[in-house]
């Protein structure tokens, strides 16, 4: 696609990068079929191809975009389903962030919106502030009806109070390996996760230490910067990234690190991309690359180091939900499934696996209507697989799907921990789960059918083969 930038514009690195990306788009449109907002809205401006054109127009003009452009770009979830179907591998991920940054710099949003976005970008990444906000939120939730409309979606997302079980807490900054130490790894604690779901980090640490990893969580490492990055607040995002890079470089250079592990895939995507985020920063560019080079998702790491046979194989039906960040961007799809299977679970996939659940960072707070549609759609797809448990590798998905699906949803690593001697995942402690015997599974699948489509099936025939071979 031809672009029309002036030399002055192209002198700015971000514009130059955007121009390259824009030129690579050929308008084929493969991206639209997989884009959740295009599928829902069928508006040509609510698909990647249309958004690319809007970004092009906006950046070429240089000035503030129209509210219509902002509306369409705001609806993008950065789920990157488009990048999986693009024939020419347009780097949409980085382009949309340039677009968002431009909007943030040039467009004056209505006051309420500005306040909300600033609040989210400031409060969520700061644990103490977030903790206070949660308490305030729980009080406000009792007066739900009187709260401003913009705030209500946030109240819906309030998590239940934390578990008081010490096994679900993370009290230290350093956890030695159980037995011989074979690796030393840093774990990104996260910002929201330790407050609303510390049991995920607890389970993660148990799994890692169990298999020979010393786990460190430097105090100076905090939010990965994603929340601000995806709202176009680049400077804030970079400052969080710098803090993390500095903290991890310190660990790398002092005790040494074999990996930097992330168990929230939205964060993992950003950390793996720190090299790009901090490009051109004379003090941090190289450090960012070093850090990004050893950043891995916790399931990738467990596959890499290898885990033994489980102590208590868990025979439950798990439907695995691919978080869009883990599936579409990081492309980590096999490791979680392989680990769950090894741990004894029966693993199913979800139809429309490429569809985001609607969490997408702060999307479910800023675009509640679309997020709800997506959440309900994901829940229906999950239900069609008749799971006992749903597993996912991202706190955002767990929260969002939890709102719309009656099936208990847990983090993949909690299920692994449970099979290797850890406690039952928090969400499963009040649920009674039947163990599936191996030959019963096929039979259960055959007779269970609440779908509307007629299936003609003789109940006695449980063999997988339809023909004779």
């Amino acid at each position: 696609m031809k672009t029309h930038f002036t030399q002055t514009q192209l002198a700015e690195p971000q514009i130059a990068e955007a121009a390259d990306i824009l030129q690579s788009c050929q308008h084929f449109g493969f991206c639209t079929s997989g884009c959740p907002t295009y599928v829902l809205l069928h508006d040509e401006n609510d698909g990647p191809r249309g958004r690319i054109d809007l970004i092009k127009e906006m950046l070429e003009s240089g000035g503030a975009p129209s509210s219509k452009t902002v509306k369409h770009l705001d609806r993008c979830m950065s789920c990157m389903s488009c990048m999986g179907t693009c024939a020419v591998k347009v780097d949409y991920m980085h382009l949309i962030d340039v677009g968002r940054a431009h909007i943030e710099k040039t467009y004056r949003r209505p006051l309420a919106e500005r306040l909300l976005r600033s609040a989210l970008g400031f409060v969520l990444p700061r644990r103490n502030l977030f903790k206070s906000a949660l308490s305030l939120g729980r009080i406000a939730a009792r007066f739900g009806r009187w709260m401003p409309p913009a705030v209500r979606p946030l109240l819906e997302l309030l998590p239940p109070p934390r578990s008081s079980d010490p096994a679900d807490a993370v009290g230290q900054r350093n956890y030695p390996a159980v037995g011989v130490r074979r690796w030393r790894v840093a774990l990104l604690e996260g910002c929201v996760q330790p407050e609303i779901a510390p049991h995920i980090n607890a389970a993660t640490i148990r799994m890692l230490t169990r298999f020979g990893c010393e786990v460190v969580m430097p105090e100076a490492a905090g939010c990965c910067g994603s929340l601000n990055l995806h709202m176009g607040k680049q400077e804030a995002a970079r400052s969080f990234a710098r803090a993390n890079v500095a903290a991890w470089l310190n660990e790398l250079d002092q005790g040494g690190l074999d990996a930097i592990l992330v168990n929230a895939s939205g964060c993992g995507t950003t950390v793996k991309d720190y090299g790009h985020l901090l490009k051109g920063d004379p003090d941090f560019e190289q450090g960012a690359q070093r850090v990004a080079a050893i950043a891995v998702d916790v399931c990738e790491w467990l596959m890499r180091i290898g885990v033994s046979a489980p102590t208590t194989p868990r025979r439950h039906k798990v439907t695995y939900h691919d978080a869009c960040s883990l599936r579409n961007v990081q492309k980590v799809t096999q490791p979680p499934r392989a680990l769950l299977l090894k741990a004894g679970y029966f693993v199913s996939d979800v139809p429309e696996a490429h569809f985001c659940c609607g969490s997408a960072g702060t999307y479910n707070m800023l675009q509640p209507d679309l997020a709800r549609q997506l959440g309900q759609r994901k829940a229906a797809n999950l239900a069609s697989t008749h799971p006992q448990i749903v597993a996912a590798g991202n706190i955002g998905c767990i929260t969002q799907i939890g709102l719309h699906s009656p099936t208990p949803i847990v983090h993949t690593v909690e299920l692994l921990d449970w099979a290797y001697g850890g406690p039952a995942p928090l969400a499963l402690r009040t649920v009674s789960l039947e163990e599936i015997a191996i030959d019963k599974e096929a039979h259960d699948e055959a007779v269970a059918s609440s779908s509307e489509q007629p299936i003609h099936f003789y109940p006695g025939n449980t063999s997988k083969d339809m023909g004779v071979w």
């Binding site: 024939a87 996939d349 139809p351 299936i455 003609h456 339809m466 071979w469």
Partner: protein, 509 residues
């Protein structure tokens, strides 16, 4: 002008306001395509939800003299995308809302589908039901439409490759607004039993009238599904020289005549195999000629591939049961002395061969799409002739095609897909549409290929929308008249896609 407004008012009341789209962005997008010609924007896009709504649209079109252009779903890349046959036609987008899988029968193994069901959707549903049945996938991406592909006589690569042939019974809305069901569906009752299991029905088989035509709007189709075998193993042979094609064809033919090999043979040339992962290095440096032999050899070396890669697959009870069959094929091919065997396990790690494996095992994949960027730019078309399975004839046509590509400075990207008597030649053209000169050469290349092949008695099996008239002109006049007469009979006011496949009412222009 007045007519279109009255028509739209009528369909708005039949469908609902929100399902009649005249937004400028929509019209522009639907009009875009990858062929050399100009974009052809529709005047509106409609989104019906049911056969009844399609009938209402057709009746309104008859009443107000409006031309429609029904589409299903997917990209139709290189064949005209979603653009109507002529600018201003009203696109009827069946894919968006008519996308239900109405039935999957796991005893007699068929699915009843609406036009909006994609390969991915059916794949997902079959997987959800225990993965006992397979989709037959194409070279196109997973979001492509099953019915759209079948009705354009597209194909896969496994035993169920003949996608139109694997349809069994359809429901069609004719241009006059009447609805028919074909095959055993034509019984005048609502409780049909053999509609999707029998192709041996009473009377003329009208199904073929609706493939690659504009005689009716297909709203529902039964599609046969292959049971998933316990094991499938592929085999591949790499040949070093362009001239090896003749021998390859001769080797493949007997294996297909007896159906010893149940899949088709994919015979991909070097560029077809490697283009998904590469860009033409000389083109990127500024060359506007066909890629040189040296550069091709270098790419072959880099990927460990050759001038031709032959792929096929066996299905069976276990890998062990299949092994002797692969050994037999291997012995047969290696007699030539030029074939280098690559086994299934090794092939899984070679992207070009992985694509072949996926396509033959019912895995829709976007793997081949990368070839659209072999020459960066938005131009793509497909030239789709074929050759009898006779080595010398295939070789002659290969030399002819290669020379014509070279004359116009295009890169010869081709894959022959071989069955017993015939091999379809998938010839790809990719170019930069923004370069007017190259755009013109791509167009001229296609036209010369058509004319030269036609002179040698070879027509195409499927064509990009822009070239429909060109191909129709190659047909015998009596056949053209017969098509027009059928059009007159089934669509007397010419409301369905006038001009598509070069078919119009008699006397129209």
């Amino acid at each position: 002008m007045k007519n279109i407004q009255n028509f739209l008012a009528q369909v708005r009341s039949d469908l609902g306001d929100q399902w009649v789209d005249q937004r400028p962005e929509t019209l522009v997008r639907y009009g875009e395509h990858t062929l050399p010609g100009q974009a052809r924007a529709p005047s509106a896009v409609l989104f019906p939800e049911s056969t009844a709504q399609v009938v209402a649209i057709v009746k309104a079109a008859n009443e107000f003299g409006i031309a429609l252009y029904p589409i299903s779903t997917g990209n139709n890349i290189g064949l005209g995308s979603r653009a109507p046959a002529r600018a201003g036609q009203v696109v009827v987008d069946l894919g968006y809302r008519m996308n239900r899988i109405r039935e999957i029968n796991e005893e007699t193994c068929y699915a009843e589908l609406e036009p909006g069901v994609s390969f991915q959707m059916l794949r997902d549903e079959l997987r959800r039901r225990g993965d006992k049945l397979m989709v037959s996938a194409t070279s196109g991406p997973p979001h492509g439409g099953i019915i759209g592909n079948a009705m354009d006589r597209g194909a896969g690569y496994g035993p169920y490759f003949d996608h139109f042939g694997m349809t069994c019974g359809m429901e069609v809305v004719l241009g006059n607004g009447e609805v028919i069901r074909t095959g055993d569906g034509s019984l005048d009752t609502e409780s049909l039993v053999n509609w999707h299991v029998s192709k041996f029905s009473f009377g003329p088989a009208l199904d073929g009238l609706f493939a690659q035509s504009n005689f009716g709007i297909v709203t529902r189709v039964g599609v046969w599904l292959m049971p998933r075998p316990p094991a499938s193993r592929s085999f591949h042979f790499v040949f070093p020289d362009d001239e090896d094609l003749a021998e390859i064809i001769e080797l493949c033919r007997p294996m297909k005549l007896s159906n010893f090999v149940p899949s088709l043979f994919r015979i991909a040339n070097d560029l077809y195999a490697m283009a998904p992962d590469e860009r033409n290095p000389e083109y990127l440096e500024g060359s506007r000629q066909s890629i040189s032999g040296t550069a091709r050899k270098a790419l072959q070396g880099k990927h460990g591939l050759g001038a031709w890669q032959v792929s096929g697959m066996f299905y069976g009870a276990s890998a062990a049961a299949i092994e002797p069959l692969v050994a037999r094929v291997r012995g047969h091919f290696e007699r030539s002395g030029k074939a280098r065997y690559i086994g299934h396990d090794e092939a899984l790690d070679i992207p070009a061969l992985r694509i072949a494996i996926d396509s033959m095992s019912g895995e829709p994949s976007a793997g081949e799409l990368g070839m659209l960027q072999w020459r960066p730019g938005s131009g793509n078309s497909w030239f789709l002739p074929g050759t009898p399975m006779v080595g010398s004839q295939a070789m002659e046509l290969d030399r002819l095609g290669r020379a014509i590509y070279e004359k116009h400075g295009m890169d010869y990207v081709v894959m022959h897909v071989a069955s017993a008597r015939f091999a379809r030649g998938l010839h790809v053209l990719v170019w930069n549409k923004d370069d007017a000169g190259e755009n013109a050469r791509a167009d001229a290349c296609y036209r010369e290929l058509t004319l030269e092949f036609s002179k040698r008695g070879i027509g195409v099996g499927r064509a990009p929308a822009d070239y429909a008239d060109l191909h129709m002109e190659q047909m015998m006049p009596s056949l053209r008249r017969a098509c027009q007469a059928i059009k007159q009979a089934l669509d007397p006011n010419g409301v369905i896609s006038p001009g598509k496949y070069g078919i119009d009412l008699p006397g129209a222009k």
